[in-house]
């Protein structure tokens, strides 16, 4: 019976079916895992206070439980611990994030559940999010406003004071990046101008005097701003809070280092949801802190979007023209067929090869020539002869060109020839037919190609590592300084951010949730783009099928 069953081939059908299940599980499981890990990071987890005794010294630990695992007793006993009076084969171990990085050796530590004498979740434990050294956990002891202890409703006062400090800090940062940054930028431009005159041998005393005057004016302006800046900073330093940490010691936290604080054990569900949303908002809109392991990813989002848009602007016209040429104008012969195959295959060439080409050809050759021709005054520091956002966009444009060409051509070939003939028969020229009939009809296909290209470009990292991406860009490629768009600047990228934070950062454990969150963001964008593209394509197919009948 079983033999016959095997002979019928039915088990093999089941096996192939199993392969589908495995693929489905891995795809959906992967996406679900990224989503879960990425999104749960922002949820305010409860903070536990534990009293430990046993294999460690008697002590109190306050922190968030990050992970749990079971360890075989034998492995622990091998390290010289004694568990003879514990039943069972395994012992639970907890990974606890204790924060307070400057006061403890490790802000993540493993704790054996057998060591925990008692644990509780006191409502008074506060979490402080700080600009330096990560989170701080502890009990609020005293709130000090301008040297005076606040006795009247200290928590509310603290809230208001933190808000004030954050505002002042923001103002100071705006001033520093905005107006002071502008002055520095102008000073640098004056220096380059002077150097340019010098190189042309046109540096007359009048010009020198003029430049000097401009410089003096800028410096004067700077002095005023600097004063405001110091005032703001000093203002932010006014208040502080005294917190008792898990060692039982009182620690004074200056409020200018505090970004936010909350009492996780005292939050209701809706308070948690509110906190969750505000954390997500901060993640998307803030700058990264502490070597990218804390804070938000705004510059990376901005850099990715800016670069991809630049690339789209470059790739669309070229891709469409090439496709129209191949489909409408090129002779229908073996050569065209070969070219078409070659173009399709370029899509399969490893992206790193494009990166190498971009570095050699765009950055060193093209960029180097541009520098030699137009920016001799900046020498020896390169302007365009170094990796930058324009070269990244160009490299990715070449990389995604085949995608746009193939998709557009497919769209063109789906347009029934009757439509074309009709137009020509009515006396329209070929160009008019193209412009008025064909391209509008092919536009959804062009759109699909563009979306696919954008989706591919947004996820590529390897070539960007060679032609322009950096872990931390001090300025965005778009700002208020003339000429406003700085194509020569380096930029941050979500994909590279994942690589950098996940693999190059000193504290991988602390950064991991952030990487998951970034990964989730990137995956969402790319999958949304792809689904849109697929939707457009299907819609288009239906439409033209109707036309043919």
């Amino acid at each position: 019976m079983v033999r016959q069953w095997f002979k019928s081939g039915s088990p093999w059908i089941w096996m192939t079916g199993g392969a589908v299940s495995i693929s489905l599980i891995s795809v959906l499981g992967l996406l679900a895992m990224i989503a879960w890990k990425g999104l749960s990071f922002f949820w305010p987890s409860e903070v536990v206070e534990m009293h430990l005794q046993g294999s460690v010294q008697k002590q109190t630990v306050i922190g968030e439980i990050y992970d749990r695992e079971l360890v075989p007793k034998s492995r622990l006993e091998a390290t010289g611990l004694d568990f003879s009076n514990h039943p069972g084969e395994y012992i639970e171990r907890l990974l606890v994030k204790t924060g307070n990085r400057e006061y403890v050796e490790l802000d993540f530590r493993w704790i054996l559940s057998t060591d925990i004498q008692s644990q509780s979740k006191p409502a008074q434990i506060a979490v402080f999010e700080r600009t330096k050294n990560g989170n701080f956990y502890g009990y609020v002891e005293r709130v000090i406003r301008d040297g005076q202890v606040v006795t009247d409703n200290p928590v509310e006062a603290l809230e208001e004071m933190v808000e004030r400090a954050v505002e002042l800090n923001d103002e100071a940062l705006d001033l520093q990046n905005g107006e002071i940054g502008h002055i520095n930028y102008e000073l640098e431009r004056l220096r380059l101008k002077e150097r340019a005159y010098q190189l042309d041998d046109e540096l007359t005393p009048e010009i020198i005097a003029d430049l000097e005057a401009q410089r003096a004016a800028l410096r004067e302006e700077y002095k005023v701003l600097e004063k405001t800046l110091f005032e703001l900073r000093n203002g932010a330093k006014r208040d502080e809070v005294v917190v008792r940490d898990m060692r039982g010691e009182e620690v004074t936290l200056p409020l200018y280092q505090v970004l936010d604080f909350w009492f996780p054990n005292d939050m209701g569900f809706f308070a948690k949801v509110g906190h969750y949303m505000s954390q997500i908002g901060k993640f998307i809109s803030d700058d990264p802190r502490e070597a990218n392991t804390e804070g938000g990813v705004f510059p990376a989002i901005f850099g990715t979007v800016f670069m991809v848009m630049l690339m789209a602007v470059i790739v669309t016209p070229f891709g469409v023209v090439a496709a129209i040429y191949l489909h409408e104008y090129a002779a229908k012969n073996a050569v065209t067929k070969m070219i078409r195959i070659a173009v399709i295959n370029l899509a399969g060439v490893p992206s790193i090869v494009y990166g190498v080409f971009g570095l050699g050809f765009f950055v060193y050759m093209l960029g180097g020539s541009i520098d030699a021709l137009f920016y001799p005054e900046a020498s020896p520091s390169p302007v365009f002869g170094t990796p930058g956002v324009i070269w990244s966009a160009l490299t990715l444009a070449i990389l995604t060109l085949p995608v746009v060409i193939v998709s557009t051509e497919e769209g063109l070939s789906r347009i029934p020839s009757t439509v074309r003939h009709g137009s020509l028969a009515l006396g329209a020229t070929k160009a008019e037919t193209l412009w008025r009939i064909i391209i509008p009809m092919a536009s959804p296909a062009i759109m699909t190609g563009l979306i696919l290209a954008v989706a591919r470009a947004a996820g590529e990292v390897a070539p960007l590592m060679l032609v322009g991406v950096v872990k931390m860009a001090p300025t965005l490629p778009l700002d208020g300084n003339f000429p406003y768009i700085h194509l020569d600047r380096k930029f941050m990228h979500l994909g590279f951010h994942i690589y950098d934070v996940g693999f190059q950062s000193p504290n991988v454990e602390a950064a991991r949730p952030l990487v998951y969150a970034t990964a989730f963001l990137l995956v969402t964008v790319i999958i949304a783009l792809n689904i849109t593209a697929i939707g457009i394509r299907n819609h288009l197919r239906e439409k033209f099928r109707a036309l043919e009948n």
């Binding site: 081939g9 079916g17 070229f318």
Partner: protein
């Protein structure tokens, strides 16, 4: 106005025609330009790679006549190759302009401070740029010609000077103050040593240690002298720059002394180093001072360096080069690279590179004997002294270290016990011997692709077959895009998950992975068998072609069971720790980021590619073929294997090719999920370094135009060609298939 009845005009408006022409011209030229731009990638890569395979060129720049009365010992040139200097037998140093309009002009003549009569002369290793006169009172004066560069009025002006590295103090080598007949010296960082042959035929090794006098601030020399026991005539003396080895050639014998410790000089080895039927004529140290080059009178130049043998470290002959037959051949080394030059009394010059075993250039450059030879610091010019004339040659030898054999064959590198395939491109020191073997990283690429395909092909093809042939069409409409969306997933995310989530998971749950591999097929078969036993009423609830949905809970359950059991199995079979078990019992090294992780992660990236193309191929097999087979009584499975798959096989082949192309060029996953060490080992528990990852790691740091840079371009070119050829093959097969289907 004449009344002209309105006739319908079929003539098209001029401007419209013009626009049409214009559009045609614009689109054609634009389209051609784009295609040319894509072609450019190929040619640009080739253009960058091509110089490494060019051989060296030697071109004469200028001849300069010198005054006939002088006899010169040696010559040299500064970095810009503008001013050359010649040291004569009276201690005078003449500086000549050798570049530009003023070539041949005597710039200046400086006199060396000497206390005694000159009896001998020696020069240091080239990169130190020092020379020394040996005197009749047993003393040595070391000097170094150098240049002060100033920029008056934005013009570069170089003023020659004589520098004295020891502040003008002469070193007393022989306490008996005998004249020095021959000597060699080295003064490098805090090491100073001289080995000398005195007039009464003693060979003295003297090591000097400078100590600053606490009160006067003057340098005082602590000298340790040792007489070296050598019988017979002394031909050549050499000291390595770091003064750890001293070489004395006596006819065909080379005495090698270990002179690391000045107070404990001992003989290291005695080499009878001449070739068969030949005699040694000279010796020299290669840059880096690890290799000794010995010239024979039959024209063979042999390279020797220290190798670990059973008898300890010993100098051994590594390889030999054929040069011109000459009784007076001299060997000269470059500053930093392993290039060496041979000159003869007949005016012949040879250029060789040891690592790549390459003869780069050979020819006759003068009609008379070459008395002295110097290479410029950047190795782009050579100076030859012939009689009373200096000839300056431009040398174009940018990439001597790259030859086909150096890239793809085993090479015996300095200090290695045997020839090996090694990739080690950079190091902190200037005189590092670059090891550019592409074999280990190509091997890594193939290994990574192999494990990825091992994982991906069975799953992707089975899934494609089921989806295309058995699955119900409404389910297929959901499943296919779901799997295909994976193709768009950024590989950086897969790499990150592989490195930070999968690798630790596999490390701690290795038995679970093995169990999963074994249990999964069994569980699926079991479910299938169980399904046939179920009452028909239940079976008919589920429509045909939904097997895979039924199996999802089964797969999940098996996965959960495997992981839950992992620790139990580990404790029961492997003593609680698989890693230790692997290392201690089986002798396998286990890297956390290993091929298994890469195989799974990259396999995952490849599955959608293979799945999508293979599914298309199977799905588009004309239905009447399978219907015919079924009508003749074949089972579904028989029809699939004998008819459908056979017809679709070219398409499946093309799918696998496409998948392979992707696996070979994948960068981020390998970069993040392996340790990136270029090792050659098939072990599944060890990592690798691939061509693509190698480029990503090293490209940003490589110097533009260097051999390293060009070799990385070569790696990119290899990847380009490889994937292009594979993809073209796949595409071609697919097109053929499409035509075949349409004719069916």
């Amino acid at each position: 106005m004449t009344s002209n009845p309105q006739k319908p005009s079929f003539k098209t408006d001029r401007s419209r025609l013009f626009k049409d022409r214009f559009a045609q011209f614009g689109i054609t030229s634009g389209g051609v330009m784009v295609l040319v731009a894509l072609l450019l990638i190929f040619f640009y890569l080739l253009y960058v790679v091509q110089p490494i395979f060019e051989s060296a060129k030697v071109e004469k720049r200028v001849d300069i006549a010198l005054s006939a009365e002088k006899r010169y010992f040696a010559l040299g040139v500064e970095e810009q190759t503008e001013i050359a200097y010649l040291l004569d037998n009276t201690g005078q140093v003449d500086f000549y302009q050798v570049k530009g309009d003023g070539a041949g002009e005597l710039v200046s003549t400086l006199q060396t401070k000497l206390d005694g009569q000159i009896t001998s002369f020696a020069k240091s290793a080239p990169f130190l740029g020092q020379y020394a006169y040996g005197l009749d009172n047993g003393q040595v004066q070391i000097l170094k010609p150098n240049f002060v560069v100033t920029f008056p009025g934005n013009q570069r002006v170089m003023k020659p000077r004589l520098g004295y590295p020891l502040a003008g103090q002469q070193l007393l080598v022989d306490e008996q103050q005998q004249a020095l007949k021959k000597f060699a010296f080295s003064h490098y960082e805090d090491k100073t040593a001289v080995v000398a042959l005195t007039a009464d035929k003693r060979v003295i090794f003297a090591s000097f240690a400078a100590e600053e006098n606490m009160f006067t601030g003057e340098l005082e020399w602590q000298v340790t002298r040792t007489e070296l026991p050598i019988d017979g005539r002394i031909d050549d003396l050499l000291i390595s720059p770091d003064t750890t080895r001293t070489f004395v050639r006596s006819a065909n014998q080379i005495y090698i002394f270990d002179t690391r410790f000045a107070d404990d000089v001992k003989q290291f080895q005695l080499l009878a180093a001449n070739e068969e039927n030949a005699n040694l004529v000279s010796m020299a140290l290669l840059a880096g001072a690890n290799s000794l080059m010995l010239a024979n009178d039959n024209g063979e130049v042999s390279q020797w360096f220290e190798v670990n043998t059973d008898a300890g470290r010993e100098f051994a002959k590594i390889r030999a080069f054929d040069s011109d037959k000459s009784k007076h051949m001299k060997v000269h080394s470059e500053f930093y690279r392993r290039t060496f030059f041979t000159t003869t009394e007949k005016g012949e010059l040879g250029v060789y590179y040891t690592t790549s075993e390459a003869e780069l250039w050979r020819g006759k450059v003068a009609d008379q004997a070459i008395d002295a030879f110097a290479i410029s610091p950047r190795a782009n010019a050579a100076l030859l002294l012939t009689g009373n004339q200096v000839s300056v040659f431009e040398i174009h030898n940018e990439h001597p270290e790259v030859t086909w054999s150096a890239l793809w064959q085993e090479v015996w590198y300095e200090g290695y016990p045997e020839p090996a395939y090694t990739w080690q491109s950079t190091s902190a020191s200037d005189d590092f011997e670059s090891k550019f073997s592409l074999v280990p990283i190509s091997f890594g690429t193939i290994k990574a692709a192999f494990y990825a395909m091992l994982f991906a092909v069975p799953i992707a093809l089975s899934a494609a077959i089921y989806t295309a042939y058995f699955m119900s069409s409404e389910l297929r409409r959901v499943v296919k895009p779901t799997v295909e969306i994976m193709e768009a997933l950024p590989t950086v995310i897969l790499g990150f998950l592989a490195g930070l989530w999968l690798a630790p998971l596999i490390e701690s749950h290795l038995p679970a992975i093995v169990a999963l591999l074994l249990l999964l097929p069994l569980a699926i078969l079991g479910t299938a068998l169980g399904w046939t036993k179920l009452p028909k009423a239940i079976r008919h609830l589920v429509p045909d072609g939904w097997h895979s949905i039924l199996l999802i809970p089964v797969v999940l359950l098996v996965g959960w069971v495997s992981f839950a059991m992992s620790d139990v199995i580990e404790g029961w079979m492997f003593g609680g720790n698989v890693r230790q078990y692997l290392t201690n019992e089986l002798g396998l090294t286990f890297d956390q980021r290993n091929s298994l992780v890469v195989g799974i992660a990259m396999g995952f990236a490849v599955i959608p590619t293979i799945f999508s193309i293979a599914e298309d191929a199977v799905f588009s097999v004309p239905r009447h073929l399978s219907n015919g087979s079924l009508a003749l009584g074949a089972t579904q499975w028989q029809t699939l294997v004998r008819v459908v798959l056979l017809t679709a096989s070219p398409g499946i082949f093309s799918a696998v090719m496409m998948g392979l192309g992707r696996a070979v060029g994948e960068t981020m996953i390998v970069l993040m999920a392996t340790g990136n060490t270029p090792i050659m080992d098939w072990s599944i528990f060890q990592g690798m370094r691939t061509l693509a990852a190698n480029i990503a790691v090293e490209m940003p740091e490589s110097e533009v135009g260097s051999s390293h840079y060009r070799i990385l371009f070569l790696a990119a070119f290899v990847l380009f060609i490889f994937t292009f050829v594979f993809n073209t093959m796949a595409e071609f097969v697919r097109q053929q298939l499409r035509e075949k289907y349409s004719s069916m």
